[in-house]
Structure formats: C-alpha cells, structure tokens
C-alpha cells in the first residue's frame, strides 16, 4: 500500500473472502445476533446477489464488508473479512478508508438521502473525483474533471448530461438520482461495488435500465459487484451466484441458473412461489405464511421452521449446518443432508 491505494494481487486469491462472520448489535433490549456464521467467497469479475426479506441482515452484511458499522453498538465476535488479501477486521478507521472508494464502493437504496440536497450533481461528483485524485495522485485540470463527469453520465445514459450537472437532487427523478449515486461510486473505480437495493422503488423500465447498465459496467471494466435485494427476479437477471439470507443466516447459495431452476431450501422455494405468475384466473400464490421473525426473539432450531411447509421434528430443536447439495451449491436444511 505504498502508493496509498490497496495493492492489487496476482488475481489467484478471491477478491473477497468472508469466513464465519458472526456479529452482534448492542441494543437497549440487550445483545442481538445480526449475523451468524456467514461465509462467502467472491471471485474477481463476478456479480453476486444477496437475497432475503427485510430484516434478514443483508444490508448489515453489506455494511460489515465495507466497514461502515460503528463499534459499539456493533461487535464482531468471530470470523474474518479478507479483501484482496487484506484482513479488513484488523484495520482501524484510517486503514479502512484506504480501501473505501477505489477499493470497495457502495451505493445505497435511498438516493435522496444518499445525495447531499444542497449540492448540485457537479459538486457531488467532484467529491468522488477528489477521492480518486488523492488515491491515485492524479493531476486533473478542471476541464479534465468535467469531461470525466460528462463521460460517466453519458455512460449511464442520462439525457443532456451537461444540464444534469447543474441540477440539485430534488430536481431529478428517482431513476436519475439513483444513477448519480452509482456514478459517484463508479467514478472512484472501485474493484468491489456493493449495491444495496438500488432498484427498489423504481419502476420496471428504469430498473431494467439500471440493471443493464450495471451488467455493461461489469463486462467493460470487470468490476466485481454485490447486489443486495429482496427481489429474486432482480437478482436473477444479472447475478452469477446467489446467496439467500434469513434471520442473519445464509440459507442457500448456488449458481443463479441452478438456484432458480431447482431451489433446494424450502425458504428459497417459497420466495420464488411468491412472485405473481399468470393472470387473474391463476390460483392463489403459495407464499410463505407469517412474517420474517423478530431478530430479538428467534425460534429454536432452524430459524425458518415456524413458516416452513415441510417442517420435521428435528427442525424444531436442531439448527441445520450448511450441506453441500451439488458442487458450489449449499443449503442449510436438514432435507439436504445426505445419509
């Protein structure tokens, strides 16, 4: 890290390796386990999806990876997060900041809250360019900076980019704001981009545009991405690998095509069944009953068992480990146990 930016390795080790990550939050109601034994491995150039309902811990995992959770209240009990060969959990605030931006970038769900309301697009993007300039010790003239901004906005298919540069966040539509947030992150050329519900609340058309742009960015620059979403259809469009989360745990992981064709875990099956299919004469949706559990009062055994349609006695008392169902596919369900 002599040049102040994370050194790039030979590419043989995975870009991100999370192992046995267990994390608590200290709250007024006592300690709450928000992540339990999370392990994941993300290769360079991959797009990985993390899917789950609200409160499943998917955003927490994203924030933990980029190191944005304050401690206290959060406390990492065990595990490791290795980004490009560097152990992130051992770094202090200034060490971490070397990795943010050009190392790991993040785009948040609420573009209105993520953008400074009194800054024009121009100034928002300038902040990001500043980070890049410092990290790479670049000499940039004002014209070069402006060209960079225009180029990135054009890449994101914003009409009249020179007009957009002069606009405040409230003057832009949701889809445009979300693209500005993405522009702010990608201008720093991150090697890992974490996208937290970036298409939620946007209509299909804008959503598809953003997914298309992300895919294009991934192909062109090889940026590795983590897409966090509650919508399996969104994740399935652009992700190579999917992780399904529930109550702070990983329930299932696998290649996208395998997972959506033959989901192994009953929870993944139910999530898929919840997507409306057919017309008004189609039968009722076999959605999971009940709601995601309160993370402060989790059930015993498998955390999904009260809502599971194939629950067994064993599920009520013993939490299943992660079973390998096929190469690269794992499911945390007793049904996946090979006898």
């Amino acid at each position: 890290m002599s040049d102040g930016s994370p050194s790039s390795s030979d590419g043989k080790i995975p870009l991100l390796k999370v192992e046995g990550l267990t994390q608590d939050f200290a709250t007024v109601d006592g300690r709450v386990r928000v992540l339990q034994n999370i392990s994941m491995q993300i290769e360079r150039g991959e797009i990985v999806g993390i899917v789950g309902e609200s409160g499943s811990g998917k955003s927490t995992l994203g924030l933990a990876i980029i190191g944005l959770l304050d401690s206290p209240p959060s406390e990492i009990l065990s595990g490791s997060i290795v980004f490009d060969g560097h152990e992130m959990l051992k770094l202090d605030a200034s060490g971490l900041s070397h990795f943010r931006g050009p190392g790991i970038g993040m785009v948040f769900q609420e573009s209105l809250a993520a953008l400074n309301p009194v800054y024009k697009t121009e100034s928002q993007l300038k902040e990001s360019i500043e980070v890049l300039r410092k990290a790479q010790k670049l000499e940039l003239t004002d014209t070069a900076e402006r060209d960079m901004m225009l180029e990135i906005l054009t890449d994101l298919r914003l009409d009249k980019p020179e007009v957009v540069l002069k606009k405040y966040p409230h003057e832009l539509s949701g889809g445009m704001r979300q693209r500005i947030s993405i522009a702010m992150a990608i201008i720093e050329k991150p090697r890992l981009l974490i996208l937290d519900e970036v298409t939620t609340g946007l209509d299909v058309y804008v959503q598809n545009r953003i997914l298309g742009l992300l895919k294009e960015l991934n192909r062109r620059t090889g940026t590795t991405m983590i897409l966090i979403t509650h919508d399996l259809t969104v994740a399935s469009q652009i992700c190579n690998t999917l992780y399904v989360m529930y109550a702070g745990r990983l329930m299932e992981e696998g290649r996208t095509e395998n997972l959506i064709k033959a989901p192994q875990h009953p929870y993944s099956q139910k999530l898929m069944a919840a997507i409306p299919q057919g017309f008004a004469d189609a039968p009722a949706l076999p959605a999971p009953t009940g709601e995601a559990p309160d993370i402060r009062k989790l059930p015993s055994g498998c955390k999904f068992h009260p809502r599971c349609h194939v629950v067994m006695e064993k599920c009520k008392t013993e939490e299943p480990p992660y079973f390998e169902t096929s190469p690269g596919c794992r499911s945390s369900c007793w049904l996946a146990q090979k006898t």
Partner: protein
C-alpha cells in the same frame, strides 16, 4: 359515445366512467423538463377515457410520473379535473359541489402506497377505523365493535391489533389496516394505489391473496394501480397503459399483455422481469421523455412515421382492445 359501448362488455354495467379526463397542475418555474406541453402547466393526465365495470378489477400501469396516482386521487375527490366527466354509478360528479364530492368519497375507498404516511401515528387501529365510520356518518356505537372485528378478520389482522399503534405493526399489517379502513363502510369502488410496492415479495404475495379473496367475497370492483406488470396481470381483468399522462392502450389484460398493440406497451412487456438470467444484451437507450407535439411516444418510438406528427386517436385494434397509434389507421377510430 361509441367508446363506451365498445370497451364495456355489454352484460356488465359500469361502476365508474371516466371520460376525456384531463388534470392539469401549475408548475413553478419553467414547467420542468418532463412535461413541456403548455406554459407553466403540466397535464398530469390528458384526455383519458376508461370504464370500471361491476365486479371487475381495472388495472392501470405505467412508469413513475405517468399520471396513475393522479387518476386515483381524482376518483376520491382529492384533485379536481380540468376537463372531462367522472360518473359514479351513472351520477355525474360536479367537483365544485360539496355533496357530489361527499357522495364520491362515501362510495370510493382508497389504499395508498405508503403505509407509514397514510396512517395517523397517534391513533390506535381502533380509532383509525372509527374515524372512517364517523366520516361516513355510519357510526353506530353498538355496532362498532362487531363491524371492526368483522373487517379485521376479513383483511387478515389479529384481533389484538385493534389496540396497536401503526408503529407497532409491520409494513404488511399497516397495509391491511389501510384496507380495513377503506372497506369498513361498504364501497362501490376500491382504489388501490400501489398497495404492495413497499412490501417484501413474500408479504406482497400474502396481501395479493387477501385482496383476491376479498374481491370475490365482497364482489368488489377495483381500480388497481401499479408499475409492476407481474402484479397487475395477476390482479386485473382489464388493463390500461399510461405513458406520460396519456392512455395509450386499453383492453382485456390477457390481450394487452400477450398481444400488445401500441409500441410502448410492447416495450413495457418486454421489460417485465422474469426469473432468469437475461442472456440477450439489451441496448440501453437514453431516456428522451415525451414528445411535446403529435403522438406523445413519437420521440422514442422505433416505428415512427410521418403521420405521428399528429396526435393519434384511439383505434379499435382487437376485441375490446384499443390503442392510440397511427399504425392501426386502417382500424376503426374512436372519438
């Protein structure tokens, strides 16, 4: 009005007729760059005609800003149309007449998109429901308890939730409270404005199931508004597609989804997310917005030709299916 005769199935009577509805807002500043029709005014909805039939669900789909919610708000008397006719059960609504608006509100219930913003945080569920009864001048104290319990059960809420404040309920439960509030006094029409957009897929599925059960139990007529094509095709019998305030296509949901006639509808349907990896690379085009003159879609339309310089009328393009597009100039035109 030939359109009225053609769109409706002859055996069903109309609950609501919306004819040539135009809603205009005054814009501060230069009128924005989204809508540039006219100076400093925005036509959020322009010349929209459709009918909600007895017992059916009419779906309105379109992108953000297409005017879907504006139509919803006109139907409960929150906005006043600039032009056009709204008829509820055959009675024409004069929006300047208080008793007409009261009549509209008594008979049309609404569920809004945002479950947090649409429930008073300082009232318990019991009081929220009571307000609806007071508003409808239907509060009978002896009957109140029975009616509340009945409606809570119908919308799938626990009995104990009656003493809860909105913040103690989950998103799905809040939407059920909104639904209970809309239906505690029987309504002729239920307007659902993006009722599941803020919910998780699994909770959305539960609420959609409840809505379908309620619809058949109470023989409800609904106007269902959403940008989610998967949802609207699952919920509606008739579908209207809005593009920047213009109704570009109307017809039976199956036909509009399976054989879209308007180029915009075709594009919208092609964009419906499916549960699969998108293998074909779609070219992402710049967002050009509506055209200020002629056909509203002509700025973006790949099939544009000379005629598109004039605004197209609605053409009858199939059984009960209508599209506002010059490609069908050989079909019978309306208006």
């Amino acid at each position: 009005m030939p359109f009225l005769l053609l769109v409706g199935a002859e055996d069903m009577s109309s609950i609501v007729d919306v004819e040539n509805l135009t809603v205009t807002f005054r814009a501060r500043g230069g009128g924005g760059f989204l809508f540039e029709r006219g100076k400093n005014t925005i036509n959020a909805v322009e010349d929209a005609t459709f009918h909600v039939k007895d017992g059916e669900t009419f779906g309105l789909a379109g992108e953000t800003g297409s005017g879907k919610s504006t139509i919803a708000r006109v139907l409960v008397g929150l906005y006043r149309p600039r032009a056009g006719i709204i008829r509820l059960l055959g009675r024409e609504i004069n929006f300047r007449n208080k008793s007409d608006v009261a009549y509209l509100r008594r008979n049309v219930g609404i569920v809004f998109q945002d479950p947090v913003g649409s429930l008073n945080p300082r009232l318990k569920v019991r009081e929220i429901l009571k307000e609806a009864l007071i508003a409808a001048k239907a509060l009978d104290k002896r009957e109140f308890q029975r009616r509340t319990e009945e409606i809570l059960e119908k919308v799938g809420l626990r009995k104990s939730s009656i003493e809860a404040y909105p913040r103690e309920l989950s998103g799905g439960e809040k939407q059920r409270v909104s639904l209970a509030r809309a239906l505690i006094v029987p309504k002729k029409l239920l307007v659902l404005d993006e009722p599941t957009t803020s919910l998780d897929v699994s909770i959305q599925a539960q609420v959609l199931n409840t809505l379908r059960t309620l619809k058949s139990e109470l023989a409800l007529s609904c106007l269902f508004i959403t940008h989610d094509i998967n949802v609207i095709k699952y919920m509606s019998n008739t579908l209207g597609i809005l593009y920047y305030g213009k109704l570009v296509e109307v017809g039976p949901t199956y036909d509009v989804v399976m054989t879209p006639k308007h180029p915009y509808t075709g594009k919208l349907m092609a964009n419906v997310p499916k549960l699969e990896r998108a293998e074909h690379e779609q070219e992402v085009l710049a967002d050009l917005g509506p055209s200020a003159t002629g056909c509203i879609y002509s700025k973006v339309c790949p099939q544009k030709f000379e005629k598109c310089a004039d605004p197209p009328p609605m053409f009858n393009v199939g059984p009960r299916q209508f599209a506002a597009c010059h490609l069908y100039e050989n079909s019978k035109a309306l208006h």
